[in-house]
């Protein structure tokens, strides 16, 4: 049982893997620190560049990025009151007041150690759950996989914060786009309009680069100005005391990590919910709730532990079921596919060394990113001062060249351009982008499993209603669909009491 763990660890013990892990961490810290970039853009930009690498090196690089992004985000949240990524917004509430009191080093130290402990707990949960999910996933047949994919889509749409219908529509459009090309079930070529490039369908990597890196850079370009304010005058001292603070407040770290672990494993919910849930629970159980928002170190520890714990557990649905729980995981899934791995049951059996190598890389990144972040804290805060209009065209151009580099096909650049515009329009019109990506990823599997299910039952739909796991999945789908209307109804029937509303972000 321990063999895959050891094999995975050994696969990382080479100079090349360690160098790429460190490169990934540096990239993750920089992209995490700069608001508007974040882990998804970092992975989207990196995705084509991993093309020439072997799978273990590519996973080490990706693990480095994913493990380091939260630490980068916490530095800009604490020093500049500008969260590098959305989940770090919770860190601002107490991190920035601490920085204003001259305790930036304390907050950064605490964030680094909370990140490391949270990340460790998240990866331990992944190590425990993965063998169990392997047993579960092997008991699934085509009807279960079909319904599981639909459940993934419904959950992502439901989690789109009050935009369930628009999320479902985006999912539907994504599925339609996924049907473009050669149909493996019937051998028919569909919706290609005579364009040979489209026979392989909408290529996932250029679409991801357009939807995330492209669309985000259009937004950054239009926003303009400096990305954030200056941190030049902030003193950074007492970092070592901050590192110890996490261990003094171990119940806070443990609570945050557990919240992050559970939330991360649910597709679509994401880091924002994990960090704010962890923060608000810490406020509620605190003996001194009034001190939060004014510079309580637990207000930094709680969200940071949750954010990093989430990263490990978010890999569970991605690897075990092939259902990416968020945008970052969707792009990461693109990296897996690019390197010939097929997330789902097959990957759990055939790519154990790669999976455990990734887990070790993520663990190392979670622990080491804190140290690296502390080492480069000043230059990292300076990166956020680069004007948006200088950064956007450079990142966008490199991303589009990367899209071409995947298989040196110039049509990829056109696809990236189309999806960049689509992503920007969706963002302006408040349509969530994640369901479209999830659908592009799941589309082929949905159709194959649907056909196989009907073949198993001689064309009868009853197969979806007579198997135990199918019934459970259907119950979850129904709950997901009724959750938003029910929440809205209850929200209007009962007055909502929000703890410390003045401290909530607008």
């Amino acid at each position: 049982m321990l063999t895959p763990w050891i094999d995975g660890f050994e696969s990382l013990l080479h100079v090349q893997q360690i160098v790429f892990l460190c490169l990934g961490m540096l990239m993750g810290l920089i992209f995490g620190a700069v608001p508007g970039l974040g882990g998804t853009t970092a992975l989207a930009l990196l995705l084509p560049l991993t093309y020439g690498l072997d799978s273990i090196t590519a996973l080490a690089l990706s693990g480095g990025v994913m493990g380091a992004v939260p630490m980068g985000g916490s530095i800009s949240a604490i020093l500049l009151n500008t969260p590098g990524s959305a989940p770090n917004a919770a860190t601002c509430m107490d991190g920035y007041p601490l920085a204003q009191q001259g305790k930036a080093g304390l907050a950064i130290g605490a964030a680094a150690s909370a990140n490391a402990v949270g990340g460790l707990i998240g990866t331990i949960s992944l190590l425990v759950v993965l063998p169990l999910s392997k047993m579960l996933v092997l008991s699934f047949g085509p009807p279960e996989f079909f319904l599981l994919s639909i459940l993934g889509l419904v959950m992502v749409a439901t989690a789109s914060r009050g935009k369930m219908l628009r999320g479902l529509i985006a999912g539907g459009v994504g599925l339609m786009l996924s049907f473009i090309g050669f149909d493996q079930v019937t051998g028919t070529v569909r919706y290609t309009f005579g364009i040979q490039y489209l026979w392989d369908g909408v290529h996932l990597v250029p679409a991801l680069i357009g939807l995330f890196a492209g669309a985000e850079m259009i937004k950054l370009w239009m926003k303009g100005g400096s990305i954030s304010g200056s941190a030049g005058q902030t003193k950074i001292t007492k970092i070592s005391s901050g590192l110890l603070e996490t261990f003094r407040h171990w119940p806070t770290v443990l609570r945050g990590s557990l919240i992050g672990t559970v939330v991360g494993a649910i597709p679509g919910v994401g880091g924002v919910v994990a960090s704010f849930l962890s923060y608000s629970l810490t406020v509620q159980v605190s003996k001194d709730p009034e001190s939060f928002g004014k510079g309580n170190i637990q207000g930094v520890i709680a969200p940071e532990a949750a954010i990093n714990a989430k990263d490990g557990s978010a890999l569970i649905p991605t690897i075990a079921f092939g259902i990416p729980g968020g945008a970052e995981m969707a792009v990461f899934l693109g990296i897996l596919v690019l390197h010939g791995m097929q997330p789902g049951p097959l990957m759990l059996i055939q790519n154990q060394t790669e999976i455990y190598g990734l887990i070790w890389a993520l663990t190392a990144a979670c622990v080491l990113a804190g140290a690296l972040g502390i080492l480069f804290v000043r230059p990292l805060s300076m990166v956020t001062l680069v004007p948006a209009k200088k950064l956007a065209p450079i990142v966008m151009t490199i991303a589009f060249i990367g899209s071409w580099a995947v298989d040196q096909t110039v049509e990829n650049v056109i696809v990236s351009g189309v999806f960049a515009l689509l992503g920007y329009i969706m963002s302006r019109l408040d349509y969530p982008r994640l369901p479209i990506v999830i659908s592009l990823v799941l589309g082929a599997g949905v159709e194959r499993n649907f056909h196989q299910s009907l073949a198993m039952s001689d064309g009868s739909w009853s197969i979806f209603f007579t198997r135990t796991i199918c019934m459970i999945l259907l119950a979850f789908i129904a709950t997901g669909l009724f959750l938003t209307p029910a929440r809205s109804l209850f929200g209007r029937l009962f007055t909502k009491q929000v703890a410390f509303p003045e401290r909530r972000p607008a």
Binding site: P393, T397, F400, S427, E447, R487, S488, R492
Partner: protein
């Protein structure tokens, strides 16, 4: 102009999705029966959802109730969007279009230099020396990364012998 209590422009996104789904269904029914089983199911469901979206945008009791139930966040004007001027919008979209067109016609390296220099000039007209240095540096970086390190033969563009 208002339709059922809502400005006509507010229906546009839902209407586009509706037309897209309808067009998709039109194409789907030209396929053999086995090949259209899943696409037609998805097409009809999306068309139904787009219809719900259209109805939820109307100003009457039904529309308001539906909006509260399925899209409680409301419409885009309540989203976390910063105001965008027409100039910003044109330059942002123009940047993407120019990038793709230049890539096709001129290839990788000229595109990197031209697009980055052009975009920087658009934003910082007076700093043309800095802009030229940044564009040249980025082009050199792209050449180093893609041509030297990854060993790729960079696309020359249609104008210089490349093909689609």
């Amino acid at each position: 102009m208002k339709i059922l209590g809502t400005p006509a422009i507010r229906y546009l996104p839902a209407l586009i999705v509706w037309l897209f789904a309808a067009g998709f269904l039109g194409l789907t029914y030209q396929l053999p029966e086995a090949a259209r089983a899943t696409p037609s199911l998805v097409g009809w469901v999306t068309l139904g959802l787009a219809t719900l979206d259209l109805v939820s945008r109307t100003g009457g009791e039904l529309g308001v109730a539906l909006m509260r139930a399925v899209n409680p966040a409301g419409l885009a004007d309540r989203a976390d969007n910063h105001p965008v001027t027409r100039k910003d919008l044109a330059s942002g979209i123009g940047l993407i279009v120019a990038l793709v067109a230049s890539f096709l016609v001129l290839g990788v390296l000229p595109t990197t230099a031209i697009i980055i220099f052009g975009a920087l000039m658009l934003a910082y007209r007076s700093q043309w020396i800095t802009n030229a240095i940044v564009a040249a540096g980025a082009t050199a970086g792209v050449w180093l990364l893609f041509a030297v390190l990854l060993g790729l033969q960079l696309y020359p563009g249609l104008a210089f012998g490349g093909d689609l």
